[in-house]
């Protein structure tokens, strides 16, 4: 043993000298190391269903349009300009003159038409058909197209020239532009592939050709995606030469690696508890921005329960102290929410801000509804500490007015199954919304996304009207009215909209996250002094 000890020490010394992290000096290529909880599952931008794939896709692909990070108004991107014809039905789009695929082929209107045909094809299984169903002939193409390929024509999509195409809608639909935020597929590579085979096609794994600020260098199944700057990107070659998107499933390890200087950025999901620790390090900067997500308590009114009585729902709604949740549970990194419109939406109604916690009134409502005390069950998913705390706070408050809330903590899949089958009375849920304030997806009675089964004909009418109008002022008026009606029915209790919290090395400059995409302006990012990870 005594003889082994020096040997062991030597081994440790040798190995610890083997740190592979390269030192970066002037003139060397810059590297940015970004943390991710998980790796992507596909690189094909129109089959993205998880956030890791979406983040990587935003590095590799350029979308047709983007939305402004502050106002969420549609802005040019791959589409350099557009015209709307007088009837608000036909849009004429022009693509960037200098936009090329990474193999040198020009990005054309045919690529756009092809991509939209794929999305409308009966065998397409991604999520993008919803925005395109307003295009004239799209529904018919989806129902009647016989060929296995995305060939033929969609009535409302017309290629007008190499770089111009037009899209005609069935009826005016105001949010349309804000939904054209998907990238294109290269028609010259993929038009001969059956749409049903596209998801598993080599393109989704190897991505030989793309259009974004970065191009794929290496995708190591469980370690990292390495992308390098695309010299021909239409907005100019990105400043940072290499980005390593590294999969580190453990968030504590991520934080330690950032503190140790081996990571440069933890995007979006830094835990509120970790912010204080990270702020003590002068080498680290914290960024926050609002997001298009919110948490709420869903109330099941379709099941025979006291919750069918509006007064009981109102009693519950008057119990929730959102300020307290935001300040104490989320440490201020959220906005309290009083209705389905988010502060980011142009139609957001600030006058709803007033907090209305009133135990006496709540008790009165309960008694008026004929209940002296009652039992309700609340489900929420395991592993989300914030929601667990919200559940406890609600239980405590409700007990004061004679409502006993039974808490059931469920595993994620079991939780989703219970929600989908309506097997709950109250459920704490999260939800993502679009950049446009259009409330139809979640609140129109005939929408596929109306998971709560909410039905109010007046709301339906207001939403239909609003989506056909074009001026923001008129639409704001209608959406606020719809929101007011929804709030009167109390189908849910809105809680808060959490902010994205990013932690980055202080050398990272021009980092400007978008509510929907952390890599929104990645081509502009720079590392001070050309330094990256050490």
């Amino acid at each position: 043993m005594r003889r082994l000890l020096p040997l062991l020490c030597l081994l440790i010394l040798i190995l610890s000298g083997c740190h592979g992290y390269k030192e970066h000096g002037a003139g060397q290529e810059s590297e940015l190391h970004v943390a991710a909880i998980a790796g992507p599952v596909t690189l094909n931008p129109i089959f993205v269903r998880d956030s890791a794939s979406a983040e990587v896709a935003s590095l590799l692909h350029a979308s047709l349009l983007i939305t402004d990070p502050d106002t969420l108004e549609p802005m040019p991107h791959l589409v350099s300009s557009w015209d709307v014809l007088g009837d608000n039905l036909t849009y004429i789009f022009t693509l960037q003159e200098n936009a090329y695929w990474t193999d040198g082929v020009s990005i054309t209107a045919e690529d756009a038409a092809f991509t939209m045909r794929v999305i409308c094809h009966p065998d397409y299984t991604g999520w993008l058909f919803l925005p395109l169903r307003y295009v004239a002939g799209a529904q018919e193409y989806k129902e009647n197209h016989q060929s296995l390929f995305a060939d033929g024509l969609i009535e409302g999509i017309e290629v007008l020239g190499e770089k111009t195409f037009s899209v005609t809608l069935k009826e005016p639909y105001a949010p349309f532009l804000s939904l054209l935020t998907f990238p294109l597929l290269p028609a010259h590579l993929l038009s001969a592939v059956e749409v049903g085979q596209l998801e598993a096609h080599e393109y989704s794994l190897k991505l030989p050709v793309s259009s974004g600020p970065y191009l794929l260098a290496e995708w190591d199944a469980d370690e990292y995606v390495h992308v390098k700057a695309n010299p021909d990107f239409f907005l100019g070659k990105p400043e940072i030469d290499h980005i390593y998107y590294r999969f580190i499933p453990n968030v504590e390890t991520q934080v330690i690696e950032l503190l140790a200087g081996k990571l440069d950025l933890i995007p979006t999901a830094v835990k509120v508890e970790d912010v204080k620790l990270l702020q003590t390090d002068p080498q680290i900067k914290i960024y926050t921005n609002p997001r298009l997500v919110y948490d709420y308590i869903a109330i099941n009114t379709n099941k025979d329960s006291p919750l069918q009585d509006r007064r009981v729902r109102q009693a519950l709604a008057t119990l929730v102290n959102r300020r307290e949740i935001v300040d104490n549970v989320l440490l201020g990194y959220a906005d309290p929410l009083y209705g389905p419109l988010l502060p980011l939406h142009f139609a957001y109604d600030e006058s709803l801000q007033a907090e209305t916690v009133d135990l006496a009134a709540a008790r009165e409502l309960l008694v008026a509804a004929g209940y002296n005390n009652l039992q309700l069950n609340l489900i929420f998913n395991a592993g989300n500490l914030v929601r667990e705390n919200v559940a406890l706070l609600l239980k405590e408050q409700a007990a004061k007015i004679g409502i006993e809330i039974q808490l059931s903590l469920l595993e994620w899949e079991a939780f989703l199954a219970a929600v989908n089958e309506g097997d709950y009375e109250l459920a704490i849920l999260g939800r993502g919304v679009e950049a446009d304030p259009d409330l139809s997806y979640h609140w129109h009675s005939e929408s596929l996304g109306n998971a709560l089964g909410y039905k109010n004909e007046e709301v339906d009418l207001l939403l239909e009207q609003a989506s056909r109008l074009t001026t923001q002022r008129e639409r704001t008026f209608l959406y606020r009215q719809a929101q007011k009606k929804i709030l009167e029915d109390i189908p849910a209790i809105w809680l808060y909209s959490r902010q994205a919290i990013h932690a980055a090395t202080a050398t990272l400059e021009k980092f400007r996250p978008h509510p929907e995409s952390v890599f929104f302006n990645v081509h502009e990012w720079t590392l001070k002094g050309g330094e990256g990870s050490q």
């Binding site: 440790i12 040798i14 190995l15 610890s16 083997c18 740190h19 592979g20 992290y21 390269k22 190391h33 998980a38 599952v41 596909t42 269903r49 065998d123 397409y124 299984t125 991604g126 999520w127 058909f129 919803l130 049903g196 998801e199 598993a200 989704s204 794994l205 190591d220 199944a221 469980d222 370690e223 990292y224 390495h226 390593y244 590294r246 999969f247 580190i248 499933p249 453990n250 504590e252 390890t253 330690i256 690696e257 140790a260 081996k262 997500v293 595993e411 994620w412 899949e413 079991a414 989703l416 199954a417 989908n420 849920l429 999260g430 939800r431 993502g432 679009e434 596929l448 996304g449 998971a451």
Partner: protein, 316 residues
């Protein structure tokens, strides 16, 4: 002997069949399905339907099982629903990095356990023995997850000697680079392995040490070394071989915890992700291959017993 082997083989096949049916049913009866919609994302229910149709997941369960069985018997384990690639390919990619970690940890742990176990058995009730006893209890009880984080804080942050993430530095991947990435996960795994094995080695050796034939051997004037090598070790080998053989399947399924904490790109993490994602073909294949490994390991242990212990040969 031949008859016994055939019987064991048939038993194994039946067990594997049972495991595949049980896995299949639990997987499909468990809540959720592979495209379970996350309510935070927008989804298109008609697309979900088409997705299930294209993958034959809309068929009744018995039909799905039979088609899986017939494909499996022809060597086709199917495509991962999540990654859209052949399951076998996905497993093959991840197995080497897992084996690198688990086999090394296993060998180091076992070697240390043999050396230390024998030593403390000889010195029963000495202070060294007591320390090893306490350590071995701690080694089994300390959560690897916690130890991993402590090691990362100490040796990757405070005194940055080793890397804490992954198997190699992006863009590097040379042997020394991989070795220094292995250090921390190995410590966590060996800390646990060794604690576990050393208990067994110690008690196996102790049991034999107190037997009459050992005393007789000593009385015949053999040295301590001779007694240990010729008499004690061969006779205490059976429980040690059992423990080692039972570790075999774990070598292949990986060290889920260490892989999770240290972001090691192995099969353990893959199994966790696939199970969470309800990736049926992957789960079926992994369970079947784990079950097969357990069966093989047991079988190997039995065969080894026959070699080690002449008494068993006579009985057989």
């Amino acid at each position: 002997m031949i008859f016994q082997l055939v019987r064991r083989f048939t038993q194994t096949l039946l067990v594997l069949f049972g495991v595949s049916v049980a896995t299949f049913l639990t997987m499909h009866w468990a809540p959720g399905h592979p495209l379970q919609a996350n309510p935070e994302l927008r989804l298109d229910p008609t697309a979900v339907e088409r997705w299930l149709q294209l993958r034959n997941l809309d068929q009744p369960l018995p039909a799905q099982y039979l088609s899986w069985l017939s494909r499996m018997l022809r060597g086709d384990f199917g495509q991962s629903l999540l990654y859209n690639r052949p399951v076998i390919e996905l497993i093959r990619e991840r197995l080497p990095s897992t084996l690198l970690l688990t086999v090394t940890a296993f060998l180091i742990g076992l070697f240390l356990a043999l050396v230390v176990g024998i030593y403390v058995a000889k010195k029963q009730n000495s202070w060294v023995d007591r320390m090893v006893q306490v350590y071995s209890l701690a080694g089994i009880s300390v959560p690897g997850y916690w130890l991993g984080i402590v090691l990362i804080i100490c040796f990757a942050y405070r005194f940055p000697l080793f890397s804490a993430v992954g198997m190699r530095t992006p863009g590097d991947g040379s042997l020394p680079d991989i070795l220094q990435h292995m250090v921390l996960p190995l410590i966590v795994m060996v800390f646990h392995n060794f604690a576990y094995y050393v208990r067994h080695v110690r008690s196996a050796v102790l049991n034999v040490l107190n037997l009459d034939f050992v005393r007789a051997a000593k009385a015949r004037g053999l040295t301590d070394k001779q007694v240990m090598l010729w008499h004690v070790l061969p006779n205490s080998a059976i429980p040690i071989v059992t423990i080692a053989a039972l570790s075999l399947p774990v070598l292949f399924t990986g060290a889920m915890m260490a892989e999770q904490v240290f972001a090691w790109p192995g099969i353990g993490r893959f199994i966790v992700t696939s199970t969470m994602a309800r990736d049926y073909p992957v789960i079926m294949t992994v369970n079947l291959y784990t079950a097969a490994l357990v069966a093989i390991a047991n079988f190997l242990a039995d065969v080894l017993y026959l070699f080690i212990d002449p008494r068993l040969r006579v009985k057989a």
